[in-house]
């Protein structure tokens, strides 16, 4: 069994036990599947591994826990989606993902306050989206949960804007994390 971690563009071979299968412009990075313990540390190691790969190649992360029977299945997945994956790599190359969640500080706020906060959260997103290559609002019970695909060299400017917006909205709790591998931008929309 083989664990499939990411699709990347052509790049130096990754360190064993990682392997890059396929040739040409899209490769599949995989490793022998192990009985995974899904501890927080294991999840961090997974992300750190992807980030190391991202340092010198474009990378589309694969859904965590994707295991296929053999190399042929990996190559079949590559062949079936080669064009789409190449386009995806083009989209994310040189960028990282940042996450933003917005909540109210006062959990007991009434309907009017909550509506006002929801409006403010939407405007936060509208202020940040132009700083990103792509932005997506994700379903959530929070006021806002969004992801931004940001050029590596624009991360500092994005974080500075988040700090400004945070200072301007004492009624809201902003949680901005990252940079992450571009998980929210891996599938074409």
């Amino acid at each position: 069994m083989i664990e499939l971690l990411a699709f990347t563009d052509d790049a130096p071979a990754p360190e064993p036990p990682l392997r890059a299968l396929g040739d040409g412009r899209v490769r599949a990075v995989c490793r022998p599947a192990a009985d995974a313990q899904h501890t927080p540390d294991a999840l961090w190691r997974h992300e750190e591994l992807l980030e190391r790969l991202m340092e010198d190649r474009g990378l589309l992360p694969v859904r965590y826990g994707t295991v296929v029977p053999d190399e042929e299945a990996v190559l079949r997945a590559l062949d079936e989606r080669r064009d789409e994956l190449a386009a995806g790599l083009e989209r994310v190359r040189g960028a990282v993902e940042l996450a933003l969640r917005v909540q109210e500080h006062d959990a007991g706020a009434g309907f009017t306050e909550r509506a006002a906060s929801a409006g403010a959260a939407r405007r936060l997103h509208e202020a940040l989206a132009p700083l990103a290559r792509e932005a997506v609002v994700q379903p959530s019970r929070e006021l806002l949960r969004a992801a931004y695909l940001v050029d590596r060299d624009a991360v500092g400017a994005f974080a500075a804007r988040v700090r400004e917006l945070d200072a301007a909205h004492p009624e809201l709790a902003l949680v901005c994390t990252g940079p992450w591998a571009p998980f929210s931008f891996a599938e074409a929309r």
């Binding site: 499939l4 589309l60 992360p61 994707t66 996450a99 994390t177 998980f183 891996a186």
Partner: protein
Amino acid sequence: MSDTALAQRDIALVDLVDRLIGGGVVIAGDITLSVADIDLVYVNLRALITSVGTLEESRRR
């Protein structure tokens, strides 16, 4: 590690788990590992974040 740093790592873990199990390229028709135990971590952390204030660049660094 200070309490704050630990809390920050936990908060960032919520975003990490969101991405690992909700994002990424999905290979149709292939086997996916059970993520039931991850779901459990996820639910526990959801309870935690409601009590947290402002945080930026909260990564574990």
